[in-house]
Symmetry: C2
Subunit: 504 residues, 2 copies
Amino acid sequence: MTQTALALTELKSLLNEVCDLNNANAVLGWDQSTYMPSGGGATRGRQMATLEKIAHEKLTAPRTGELLENLKSYEQELPYDHDDAALLRLARRYYEQATKVPSEFLAAFSEHSSNTYLAWVKARPANDFKSVQPLLKKTLDMSRQLAEYYGYDEHIADPLINLADYGMKASTIRALFAELRSELVPLVKTITEQPLADDSCLLQHYPEAQQFAFSTPIIKRFGYDFERGRQDKTAHPFMTKFANGDVRITTRVKEHDFSEAFFSTTHETGHALYEQGINPAFDGTFLDNGTSSGVHESQSRTWENLVSRSRAFWSYYYPSLQQQFPAQLNQVSLDTFYRAINKVQRSLIRTDADEVTYNLHVMIRFELELQMLEGKLAVKDLPEAWNAAYQNDLGITPPNDSNGCMQDVHWYGGRIGGVFQSYTIGNILSAQFFESALKAYPDINNEIAQGQFSTLHHWLKTNIYQYGSKFTANKMIERATGRGLDIAPYMQYLRTKYGELYTL
Amino acid sequence: MTQTALALTELKSLLNEVCDLNNANAVLGWDQSTYMPSGGGATRGRQMATLEKIAHEKLTAPRTGELLENLKSYEQELPYDHDDAALLRLARRYYEQATKVPSEFLAAFSEHSSNTYLAWVKARPANDFKSVQPLLKKTLDMSRQLAEYYGYDEHIADPLINLADYGMKASTIRALFAELRSELVPLVKTITEQPLADDSCLLQHYPEAQQFAFSTPIIKRFGYDFERGRQDKTAHPFMTKFANGDVRITTRVKEHDFSEAFFSTTHETGHALYEQGINPAFDGTFLDNGTSSGVHESQSRTWENLVSRSRAFWSYYYPSLQQQFPAQLNQVSLDTFYRAINKVQRSLIRTDADEVTYNLHVMIRFELELQMLEGKLAVKDLPEAWNAAYQNDLGITPPNDSNGCMQDVHWYGGRIGGVFQSYTIGNILSAQFFESALKAYPDINNEIAQGQFSTLHHWLKTNIYQYGSKFTANKMIERATGRGLDIAPYMQYLRTKYGELYTL
């Protein structure tokens, strides 16, 4: 073998170990959330920290840097699309990210986050923002410090946004969100001036086993492969991946709210279809993951909202649902059911929000994050700023901080900066990708109305899924849709769908 | 801190990482056997190999050797019973074992074993010993080579026996087994000349859920803590441990054979009680495991046989069993049931053998292993030697190699040497420990007849379980029973129990 081939083999083997450690850690995390007895908890945390530490040590070892240096000219000679080129780009990015931050700082930040999380768990139900305020202040300071370690050209939030949505910038997202906000605020106002949809049909008793009997064949039809995955119950639903051939989803069932399990199942299935659709040759490499949080969220939202909350979908599946739950639904028309699952209302809690208001919740958080990082908003003034933003954008003021600025775990269990934008980027992208899929295959909606999803799945797999992390989000959006992130398809989707449901 | 304290802290932290990696690997193994979808199989093998490799690298790192060297004088000053002394002894033993064998040899042996296993999986049902013979020959050569790497004073099998039953020697075990054999062969002959017990009552339909409804409260009464463990179904039952607070068992259920799930559940519970009973301060250290395979097997056999196959046990539980399965058992007397679960017969398959004949199966294998390692038996002559031994000891000749020398996975999936003796050592020890427990608490059998197991559990925990690997098997047997391994209690147990069932 040549020196280059030898170096490449050694680097791949080293990175493969890092991936194996990360995937093993994911198994431990999955077990912790599904089957682990309570007695296993204390030790499991330490075991997961050990695997993470060893993976970090391997990635940041001087040898990794040497090999990357030795492979620089090889990388430059490769065509951009070559798998090795993509792998080396990604390895270089992760290596540089990981080596920029002193490991003592990371450990201290991680410990601080754990402590803040524990304080928040107590403070939230007690509506006691004061008690977490100093901790959150420190989180802000450490988040700023983290950004400084990474370095940035434009905005201090950019390197933090990079961690989830590589290549996106505060300035671009801010402009995009301002545009979206200017369209959404009046739309929400118009809709919420009209009578509230009646969703009482969803709040009847739906036995768990029958819920699964209904949803399982549907996610199989979407393309979720149970030979390469499985579904279990957890307190908080998630998708996790251990290998190209082992992509699992979890679900929380509420027997008195049909929406809960069904839409979280189709949501997590969207994440899983992305991961199951990645080129199997990428197994055990950095390429074997979705390329960014925003693109990932676009897929969960596609299957949850654009598919599973569409009239086309229910025109096909509602009779089956009635058959599964005759006592609950035989007297409920498709129209009533469809309005119920798409009920729009001004509400306080992001995770309970509908498609139309959801992004307002996200954008409020994104803007507050930026202002805190910029030093324009002090942590002590967060509750006031939060409430003012809710009054301004959603027309309601939280009665307390528990249902206000303390409702989400993100800031209290991690950092401030780059932790919310992916949700809205995902919503925007879901419509942008879907529009391109429709351009290529105009029959997709008719197929959905026949319970057929293979054409949509095929387009998504061909244009997005198969590439894993081979291309950055920006590059892939450009390749798949011919342009950058664009809110027009998403606004058109909302206006069409909700124009039919409400007088707009 | 002093130099010694610093070195000790560093060593403990290093060994803790090795334990965390091994325990993480056990989680991956458990998942592989219980819930992993088929698509995960290929990658899982590699992930587990990676964790094993990294654990091996950490254990054999030069730094480990330096620290052990630096701590030598500290270790020598400590009292033998000190936890640090035990940890350092064990760390030194594992380090020396692991560094004696070149890692290339281990990798080659591991690859050869995988290939041999795959060949055996095909060859066994085809009754094709010829096809695996050259592979098994290589296994023998590599097993001998492995023993040479470890080194030995007396017998080439000694270092291989050490891997499972540290401190036991081929010569001692051989002598003990010869003595046991000389007593068992005539006992089996006497029993099997009498009419076979009728076990048809066990071979009725026992629905799975009801089997668990019966067995779960029993293993809780034994002392198995479900807050620190759980039970799942697998193709082959096993016990596995991820932490002091997370010790799991698995079970295989046959709905047309009551014995299968019930006795494998009480067997694995025995293993689990040992692990759950270890001093929680040993969590995450080398001390947090049973001390040897033989001692471990003594505990599975205690709870499976001495407890769960005893007349005392069933005099209490048989009415509950009849209540759980009235159609199956209301017409079956306790006496008939008791004879059925203790049916003795000459049979070909070790894993199906009863308490009396079981050890003959094991001792045949142990002796053949020794002869192969000594160069006195060639692999090509194994089938003939196997069949002759069965004819001699059990009075039957296997009709083919599938049910003869190809029945067990041990040689075909691993090495030759030290892989069978633990089963019989466990049987012998179970009676020896039980005798000592009875001496301390003569009421134990009466308590079992009342469905009470806490005194027995207490004695075992106090004298065996709590110590984990702190003492070697030999040391612990001596401490708990006042003497070395001794077949007398076991033979007395068999003669008493089967003397009541048969005319002896």
